[in-house]
């Protein structure tokens, strides 16, 4: 099992400046016992992925997948393993973030040919007699060279890697209808305030671009909000002509009856965690409910800088587990 790669400064900036902050917020600690839960870094020949909660069922937490094409992050990439050149291990995001941050600060004033290499190594940790695996970062700046070793878990077994891979494939089933949330920070503000009143939210999405979030855990108050006329991707329908005069709840019930909306219940805490992905500065954010109400998906889209074209080399999405299948 070997992994060694020369990192591009642009790639380092994308990871350090945008994604690591989101990764840290979404999923606390990555190093958990027996490699389940937490964050895994999954390396293949073509992609580098940060995976949260995909292993071990992951049923009770937010699943998050951040995927980068190798060419976006690296100029030079060598990977080999007996498991079809796939390597996965758990890593603590805050440690990784710290290593990336200091690598970047070491390189920032350096010459025209910055050097940053990332590789898997086995080393003898201080005070231990058994070698342990590390992800090692070596930077050569103008005045200094720094090597940082980030402790990682033992690489996942071939069986675990294939579990991870199949979990990843099943996590990519897209909702029929996606609605675009225009202002994620505003949504965060709203959900943040709802948090004080209750902890379960019912989320409904129609095929004509309505997103309705309502507290469903308090008997003393009905509190919710509705965004209307959002941009839609996927299956669309047109609203009934007279429904504008109804209350948001009545409108949503009608849409569900007509099969033009889906509704699921999710935990406030999970939704807030997923919204933390705005730290990765996505250009668009979409909400959708997976087929059969399997989960609430939040999909973030990134543009190629300076254009409005989707950057296919980055993808980020969260799957929020459903507490109850709701009315669908």
């Amino acid at each position: 099992m070997k992994f060694k790669a020369g990192m591009r400064v642009e790639g380092l900036e994308i990871l350090e400046g945008r994604f690591m902050a989101a990764v840290e917020r979404v999923g606390g600690s990555g190093m958990k016992q027996n490699n389940s839960g937490g964050w895994q870094l999954y390396l293949t020949r073509d992609h580098v992925m940060f995976l949260h909660n995909l292993l071990g069922g992951g049923g009770d937490g937010v699943q998050c997948v951040a995927q980068f094409s190798v060419s976006l992050l690296f100029h030079d990439y060598h990977i080999s393993s007996r498991n079809a050149d796939r390597i996965a291990f758990s890593v603590e995001p805050s440690l990784l973030h710290r290593a990336l941050r200091s690598s970047l600060s070491n390189l920032i004033h350096s010459s025209s040919s910055p050097f940053l290499q990332m590789k898997l190594v086995k080393k003898l940790p201080a005070g231990s007699s058994r070698p342990a695996p590390f992800l090692s970062f070596e930077t050569k700046g103008q005045r200094s060279a720094v090597i940082q070793d980030v402790p990682i878990s033992r690489p996942l077994s071939a069986a675990d890697v294939s579990d991870l891979h199949s979990a990843l494939l099943s996590a990519q089933e897209l909702p029929e209808t996606l609605v675009q949330v225009p202002d994620l920070q505003q949504l965060q503000g709203l959900v943040d305030r709802l948090r004080h009143v209750g902890d379960v939210l019912s989320v409904s999405i129609t095929r004509y671009g309505d997103l309705h979030l309502k507290l469903s855990s308090s008997s003393l108050v009905t509190l919710g909000f509705e965004f209307r006329g959002l941009r839609i991707l996927g299956v669309q329908a047109s609203p009934l002509p007279n429904e504008a005069s109804l209350s948001p709840q009545a409108r949503m019930e009608l849409a569900i009856q007509r099969g033009e909306a889906m509704s699921v219940q999710v935990s406030m805490k999970h939704l807030l965690k997923s919204i933390q992905c705005h730290l990765a500065k996505p250009d668009c954010t979409f909400f959708g409910i997976a087929p059969q109400g399997a989960c609430l998906m939040v999909i973030f889209q990134f543009f190629i800088p300076g254009t409005r074209q989707t950057d296919k080399s980055i993808s980020l999405h969260c799957r929020i587990p459903v507490l109850d299948s709701g009315s669908n």
């Binding site: 505003q186 709203l190 005069s245």
Partner: protein
């Protein structure tokens, strides 16, 4: 909710508010614990919200009709209902998110006697809250404050708050002493230790904005009730510096009043029925009444 039920009869109250954060500030200043029941009384003059700590402390928030850009009152008598203060504040807070609602409609009662809140004027993002109300608990109405001849002492709000905050250390029982000669207010705490704070009128006019007293007045109050009067006053009150008034009435009843601005900071709203020019009148009055400790009547500290 069925809209037909509401059409049959006009609700007791429909009002529109364009400064929700101001109202949140006003209500938060009387929230001294997490779960607090409040009683709301509606009238043609406005809304009064009352909270109470059994028999020792009462606070009222007066929201005059002038605070609202629309105030349609249709009830006979004065409808009253109880609700959770924290819940009401948390719901209102949801309307404070940037870009969500410039105007909030408050309506009572809903089809099931709820208090209904909803955003107005924001076609793409709509926020609503239906708060369950209760038949009000009986409030002990023996807080009739009778002035005892003394003129209110006006403090800088921040000074009053700081003094009361500082008294936390001795805690337990706090003596408030108004002295005509030299004109001063003294707070004295005796508990875990002794702490005395003298605010003198002559030497530091910036601490006491107004003071008038013709005879010594001295009473003791429980610290925890005294601290409730200033612990949650919003920062806008400290900044606006309208001053906070303290009066000791008959039988040592202490009254503390704060003024919270519910004026909209920016330009006036076209729907404004009351003239946005008159922003200065858009003040919510917050009043606290604290009963003295019953021990041994006025204390003499000659």
């Amino acid at each position: 909710m069925s809209s037909s039920a509401m059409e049959t009869e006009a609700p007791d109250l429909v009002c529109h508010l364009d400064n929700v954060p101001g109202m949140v500030d006003a209500l938060s200043s009387v929230r001294w614990k997490r779960n607090q029941d409040a009683l709301v009384e509606l009238s043609e003059h406005g809304m009064v919200l009352i909270v109470e700590e059994t028999g020792c402390l009462q606070a009222k928030v007066y929201l005059k009709r002038e605070l609202f850009i629309l105030y349609e009152y249709n009830a006979e008598g004065r409808p009253r209902f109880g609700l959770g203060l924290g819940l009401f504040i948390d719901c209102l807070n949801t309307f404070c998110v940037q870009g969500i609602a410039s105007v909030v409609e408050i309506r009572y009662p809903g089809p099931d006697m709820q208090l209904l809140l909803k955003s107005v004027d924001s076609p793409d993002a709509f926020v609503y809250a239906d708060i369950r109300t209760r038949i009000p608990d009986t409030i002990s109405w023996d807080y009739n404050f009778e002035p005892a001849g003394t003129v209110p002492t006006r403090f800088q709000s921040a000074v009053l708050k700081e003094a009361i905050d500082d008294l936390e250390w001795p805690g337990s029982s706090i003596q408030i002493l108004l002295n005509p000669d030299p004109p001063s207010v003294t707070f004295r705490g005796e508990g875990h230790g002794d702490l005395q704070i003298d605010l003198s009128y002559r030497t530091s006019t910036d601490l006491l904005m107004a003071f008038q007293c013709d005879h010594r007045v001295s009473h003791r109050y429980k610290y925890k009730f005294l601290s409730a009067t200033t612990s949650n006053i919003p920062s806008s009150v400290l900044k606006d510096n309208r001053g906070s008034k303290m009066t000791i009435g008959r039988d040592g009843m202490l009254k503390i009043q704060h003024l919270v601005s519910v004026a909209k900071p920016s330009v006036h709203h076209p729907q404004n029925n009351f003239g946005a020019q008159n922003q200065t009148s858009r003040i919510a009055y917050i009043e606290f009444y604290v009963k003295p400790e019953e021990s041994d009547g006025p204390i003499d500290n000659a």
